[in-house]
């Protein structure tokens, strides 16, 4: 009884500490998730002013949104290319006669001020006669073009993108300053067309039917994962397309190639000749080159043929799934591998077959049965001796 009580207390204590440990780990994960942030699915609506006139809900999209953790209302490069549309449901309590509902995009500037709207600090993206209830559809491509000036190409920005401050204004007189009650500022979305910079020091290590790519992670705060692209080594290097913005021009079609080890992987050579992948360029769009994805270090390129040399490169991706430019291209070759049990069997080992394999060994049965039997005999012998002793004492007392 004492032992059971002690063990139950110990168990309860351990359970309590374990629960405390796991509970302590939860908030950190939650913070990480929420920090991805802007444009979560919560209905933030408009902010600013007294906001008695206009009510704006979080928009819906005409194409499938990304998962909730991946900023579903933000505009990525693919959203821009696919010309996604953000559809806002706007409610105006009592639209003044002759007024219009205008949507202005300002980069931190107050679009309630007429001079900011007139001086071009704010750009108008929507205008329509104000009604009690109306739908405002904003094209992702149009918004991107206003911000970048070059359609869906962002050549001057950084990988974190731009906050989009959309002012929903009910305007009666274009020249008059607006009262804060005449509109609101929606900042629940973001434009991000660039992926993060690539990792460095890429090395391909041998696995069976795959390669493990080790690397020094990108230091950019925008990194949410890594994609690995592979193609068979060799062939004519492609012309470098320059890699858009952050890629900075590429390095010329992987013409280096001197660091490649033709037998195994690489030690991070200066390139690996191939006809598809170019350091500094954007990844190929064909899915057949995408061989793996990981949110952490390292990343594995799977689905490769053994003893075929591949050229592989890694692109970091952000929370909007924008791929960045490719890392250095390294050579690697997958080979058959021998794990411990294979080596053991090849050495003549006969064990295995599962935990029920005891059936093949009668000696083991005998030993187990003997051990258990001895324990049971000791137990019952003690009980019998105690019982006899108790009866003897009881009989003696009865006789007194």
């Amino acid at each position: 009884v004492r032992g059971l009580r002690f063990l139950s207390r110990l168990g309860a204590g351990l359970l309590g500490v374990w629960l405390a440990c796991t509970a302590g780990a939860q908030p950190a994960a939650a913070q990480t998730t929420s920090s991805t942030g802007t444009g979560s699915t919560t209905t933030t609506g408009c902010e600013g002013g007294t906001n008695t006139l206009v009510s704006v809900e979080d928009p819906t999209r005409n194409i499938d949104p990304r998962p909730a953790d991946n900023c579903p209302l933000c505009i990525s490069a693919r959203d821009c290319e696919d010309d996604a549309v953000l559809r806002f449901a706007v409610t105006i309590s009592s639209p003044p006669s002759g007024s219009t509902l205008e949507v202005w995009l300002g980069d931190g500037d107050d679009c309630f001020l007429a001079e900011n709207r007139d001086d071009g600090l704010c750009a108008q993206v929507w205008s329509e006669d104000a009604r009690t209830s109306q739908s405002v559809e904003l094209s992702a491509r149009a918004l991107a073009n206003i911000v970048t000036g070059d359609d869906c190409n962002d050549t001057g920005g950084d990988s974190t993108g731009y906050e989009l401050n959309l002012h929903f204004l009910v305007v009666t007189d274009d020249s008059a300053p607006l009262d804060p009650a005449d509109g609101c500022n929606y900042s629940g979305t973001r434009l991000d067309l660039l992926g993060p910079p690539p990792p460095t020091d890429v090395v391909a290590l041998i696995q069976e039917g795959s390669l493990q790519l080790n690397f020094t992670p990108s230091s950019d705060s925008d990194v949410a994962g890594y994609d690995v692209y592979c193609t068979e080594a060799g062939g004519t290097p492609p012309a470098n397309t320059g890699g858009g913005g952050v890629g900075g021009g590429g390095v010329g079609g992987g013409a280096g190639g001197s660091g490649a080890d033709t037998a195994g992987g690489t030690g991070g050579g200066s390139g690996c000749p191939n006809s598809v992948l170019v350091e500094g360029d954007y990844p190929p769009t064909a899915d057949s080159y995408l061989k793996g994805h990981s949110t952490s270090f390292p990343v594995v390129a799977a689905g490769l043929q053994n003893e075929v040399q591949y050229a592989c490169a890694i692109a970091a991706t952000d929370d909007l799934e924008n791929p960045g430019t490719l890392s250095e291209v390294v050579c690697g070759t997958a080979f058959p591998t021998d794990d411990f049990f294979t080596v053991y069997q090849r050495a003549g080992g006969l064990a295995g077959g599962g935990i029920c394999s005891i059936g093949a060994d009668p000696k083991a049965y005998a030993a187990v049965t003997g051990g258990l039997g001895f324990t049971l005999l000791a137990f019952f012998a003690r009980r019998r001796r105690r019982s006899t002793k108790r009866n003897h004492i009881g009989g003696g007392r009865a006789g007194e």
């Binding site: 290590l205 080890d261 794990d339 077959g353 000791a378």
Partner: protein
Amino acid sequence: MRFGAVACFLSSAFVIAASQGEARAQSSGIPDTNWRQRDRTEHVARIDDSYRPHFALEVRFAPYYPQVDDAPGLAKRAVPGGSAPVGPFEQVFGSGPQFYFGLEFDWQALRIPWVGSVGPGFGIGYTNRTAQALINAPGHGTGGCHRGVDGCHSAEDTSLMIVPMQWLVVFRFDGPMRKLRVPVVPYVKAGVGMGLWEASSDADKSYSSPPGRPAEVGFASSGVTWGYHLAIGGMLLLNWLDPGSVARARAGGDAANFYLFGEWMDAGLRGLGSQNQLWVGTSTGVVGLAVDM
């Protein structure tokens, strides 16, 4: 992750022990300098040899050297840089030890006056070894190698997990400790051992049945190895560290004595003569903490 779990366990044990000690210290309220103490349990505990623990719990730690390569009939192979051919285990995992953690619970069922106690016990442990799989391509060069035992392994993990268990008869010679205040308790253990084991790999490998076994699709890389278990060791009584807590633990029915122990353990998990068993036992020194109650 595994290290975190062990750390969590140890910290929890520490927290429990500390909280009990603190609570008791607060409830005591007896000045050290007052000779007219109302609560004399500390002194009673020091001289009381009538307390008879019934159970013992051990937390055990050891370096573990699986005897896989000692099994007869296993071909050995020279590895680059090695002085002598080695068996399959050392080829993959090297010769260093792996960490073993175990628990043992003993029932001190029979007490022999002036000598000690005898009773059955059960222990269970866990040890795991992970390394990188070998590359099966002679002359593959040095490119793409992960560091390994012989300098060039693949990047794939391969591991061998062993869960040794033992059913024991434990003799604890605590008579001198109880009667003569000798703070050391020698003991011996003997019994039957069993090791559950499983070899695994990152790669989704499929194995074929070895010669002499029925053909099987997807032969399991796991099994059970039976054997004997012997141990001899000594326990150093730690009650002198905090006799007050010990006395109160006895009064509360929680624990009687605390020990630091060391033993030599021979887990002869060799299949009891059977040829088709993976030798997962070891002979090694074990240290740990024990409490009887």
